[in-house]
Amino acid sequence: MESETQRIALGLRQRDVAVLEALVEQYQYRLVRYLVSLLGRRDGVDDFVQETWLRVLERGGSYDGQSRFEPWLFRVARNIALDAMRKRPMFSLDSNEVDGVHSSPASIEPSPYTIAARTQDAERLAHSLQTLEPVYREALVLRFQEDLSLQEISVIVGAPVSTVASRIYRGLATLRPHFEGETA
């Protein structure tokens, strides 16, 4: 019996619109959430989402169905966002530029995290998440929101597993003080 991932891979090879529609329905929210986390802003994300799905249609044949679909999808989205940012360099996500680059563009609008916070804990994290270096934010989101393994995140960001783990540790270390000294 063919697995779900193999069915997706076959559908993408055949440019099956029904398969694509199902994928859009299933992964659209997660794609938006990942791109917001990657970019630290909401505007422009819809264009990247559309471009990502078009790229999935055009290059879906390169998905082999041997691994989960979402890491492959996020990698496509990441490449598109990075390409666009290199052309309009507001800030960078490259790991070798982490220490020298601002995390977010200056804006008078409330951050997407402030708007999206639905719990008290989320409200307390919103500002710190917005100012967190994008590579740490991305690693935290992929691990704890998207529930991806270190290996899967490593494939998405194109960095060694040890680097991904370090980013998660540093991200946690930055956010943890919000809750230290309290009982849960």
Partner: protein, 165 residues
């Protein structure tokens, strides 16, 4: 217990949360946590961070799905981008027919025209006091090369629905 000892277990907590801990270390960590209040607090704060990360809910533009699906259908059927629907970074692999037609016409003109001009070179040479070879070189420089360049430009020029990436 000294600070280094706690730090080593707190590092294990990070590794455990990241999914980078061995079964052996995990067991050791569990045993330590059952008796160590500072490390329990460290784990609790870490878990609050993770819970906080799950407490965000981003709104998806209600028209986004429809827009994406319409574009995908059009692209899958015709291989063309939706006019005005691209982001300026889209890629188009299909050369529009009109570009191919213009390229073929320009290429034909360059060779047919050059051939005719070559044949007329001797006739042109006499009244202009140039030798035939000079006229032929002129044909090559002023007719064949520009028309070939024009043909290549047509091939490379973006069509009405081609992206720039």
């Amino acid at each position: 217990m000294n600070i280094d000892h706690h730090q080593s277990f707190q590092r294990m907590i990070d590794e455990s949360l990241a999914g980078a801990i061995s079964a052996e270390k995990e067991q050791s960590l569990r045993e330590h946590l059952s008796t160590c209040a500072p490390c329990q607090e460290y784990l609790s704060a870490s878990n609050r961070v993770i819970a906080g990360l799950s407490g965000f809910s981003f709104e998806v533009n209600p028209s986004l799905n429809a827009r994406v699906l319409a574009t995908l259908r059009l692209q899958a059927e015709g291989g063309h981008r939706v006019p005005g629907g691209d982001t300026g970074t889209m890629r188009q692999h299909h050369m529009p027919f009109k570009n191919w037609a213009a390229f073929a016409a320009a290429l034909s003109m360059s060779f047919v025209g050059s051939r005719l001009m070559y044949q007329m070179a001797e006739r042109l040479a006499a009244p202009t006091h140039f030798v035939s070879a000079q006229v032929q070189a002129g044909v090559l420089v002023f007719w064949l090369l520009p028309s070939l360049c024009a043909a290549l430009c047509l091939l490379a020029a973006p069509g009405g629905n081609r992206g720039i990436a």
